[in-house]
């Protein structure tokens, strides 16, 4: 039995990030060696070249980027670190790509605790492991106190797209079923409850997770998927509006089929915020010809992730009202599901 170096290795007690950690000199190097390499290390990253050199099979690749600025950085169900990995992995996966490589760009505020950085970095490494991707290139900047909120992380990602896969938000076809892979609004509500100052609390757990395994299985069994998207910022409402608009089709949802956890529903009532406008970080919306919808659902339900059992067919694509999403209420009336206007603020009225 050999003893392996564990990530995280070193223990920083009360040490904090200093400007010098970002200045490209001795402390920058120390940070890379003591924090990043033990967690992310791989042959591409270890050379510490300015760029990773990667062999990627011929054909199409997918490329995406996202910056993560979530506050608080530790919340029930995740950290900014695994969110940064899953978020970018998911943006690749929903394009039908197999995620392979990530970059990691950190902006750190001087004074940021090194122990927190280690926790974040190690959660990134875990998430990357689980998603089957490697973090192969990176960058760290340190800014003065008050010029960033602790830590921001950009991840960009590359994946390969198998031949014959053609998934895009412009591809909705009338008759497609719209499927969502589980409950809605968990991430955003978990983060809101974790914020200090709001007098509300909950046991809601963020759904932050990588969708690559789930999606690759869906595509193996149902290659005829037309469009996929992860309903993150702006929630399901933003995602469906974007799909409808990009494809110039209408979408009709059935209100009674929308899966929402009871405590998320409770929080929504409390805060006066529609759970359909709230971010998810481990859910996928799939548009697929109606006849394949049940197959997709079965793949989802078979996967063991929390709320897999709540995956549901929630609506369908129509020719009418292109660019618009309509909800059929429980009473049989209709209302428009608008693109959300802006940030979700708790309201009293």
């Amino acid at each position: 039995m050999s003893i392996e170096l564990q990530c995280p290795v070193p223990h920083f007690n009360h040490e904090t990030i200093q400007m010098a950690h970002g200045a490209g000199g001795v402390l920058s190097r120390e940070l890379t060696r003591k924090v990043f390499l033990p967690c992310f290390g791989n042959s591409s990253l270890d050379t510490l070249d300015d760029q990773a050199k990667l062999s990627i099979g011929a054909g199409k690749i997918a490329f995406t980027t996202d910056t993560f600025v979530v506050s608080p950085i530790f919340f029930p169900g995740g950290t900014i670190g695994d969110l940064a990995v899953s978020g970018t992995v998911n943006d690749l996966a929903v394009g039908g790509a197999i995620p392979l490589y990530l970059s990691a760009g950190f902006v750190l505020e001087e004074g940021f605790p090194l122990t927190d950085l280690q926790k974040v970095v190690s959660s990134m490494a875990d998430a990357a492991d689980k998603a089957g991707v490697q973090i192969v290139t990176g960058d760290t900047k340190v800014v003065e106190k008050g010029q960033c909120d602790g830590i921001f992380i950009n991840t960009s990602g590359i994946g390969v797209i198998k031949n014959g896969i053609d998934i895009s938000c412009t591809n909705l076809k009338p008759g497609d079923s719209i499927i969502v892979s589980g409950t809605l609004g968990d991430h955003g509500m978990a983060v809101m409850a974790a914020r200090k100052g709001l007098s509300f609390q909950s046991d809601i757990i963020s759904d932050t997770r990588s969708l690559s395994a789930l999606i690759s299985e869906i595509l193996d069994e149902v290659p005829e998927v037309h469009a996929m998207r992860d309903p993150t910022r702006g929630g399901l409402a933003a995602t469906l509006n974007e799909l409808a608009e990009a494809s110039r089709k209408g979408i009709v949802l059935d209100e009674s089929t929308l899966p929402v956890r009871p405590d998320v529903q409770g929080a929504s009532e409390l805060l006066g915020i529609d759970p359909l406008n709230v971010a998810n970080e481990g859910k996928v919306v799939v548009a697929v010809p109606r006849e394949s919808a049940e197959k997709v659902l079965r793949v989802m339900q078979r996967h063991a992730y929390p709320s897999a059992g709540d995956a549901a067919i929630i609506g369908e694509v129509v020719d009418e009202h292109p660019g618009m999403v309509i909800v059929r209420t429980f009473l049989g009336s209709k209302r428009i599901l608008e693109m959300p206007l802006g940030e979700q603020l708790p309201r009293i009225c």
Binding site: A193, F200, P262, V264, G266, E269, I348
Partner: protein
């Protein structure tokens, strides 16, 4: 106006001399001032608006009124 939500009081405390409580709304908890429902007990339902419990919900009245409606409608 006046988004007000029914929930169950699950804890009662004193904060800065005010009677405060925790109200459970479907598993999400909200802090509410209970000064206006001084007689409230843990387990009772109340209606919370902007951080204040405004009234204890009359469970019996609610059940009775629903029963009456359902009866009326069945006719």
């Amino acid at each position: 106006m006046c988004l007000a939500i029914p929930g169950k009081v699950v804890a009662i405390s004193d904060e800065n001399g005010l009677k405060m409580g925790t109200v459970d709304v479907n598993g999400s908890l909200i802090k509410a001032c209970l000064e206006y429902v001084p007689e409230i007990r843990i387990g009772q339902y109340t209606i919370v608006h902007a951080g204040f419990a405004l009234k204890i919900i009359d469970e019996q009245e609610a059940a009775e009124s629903l029963r009456l409606w359902d009866e009326l409608l069945r006719k």
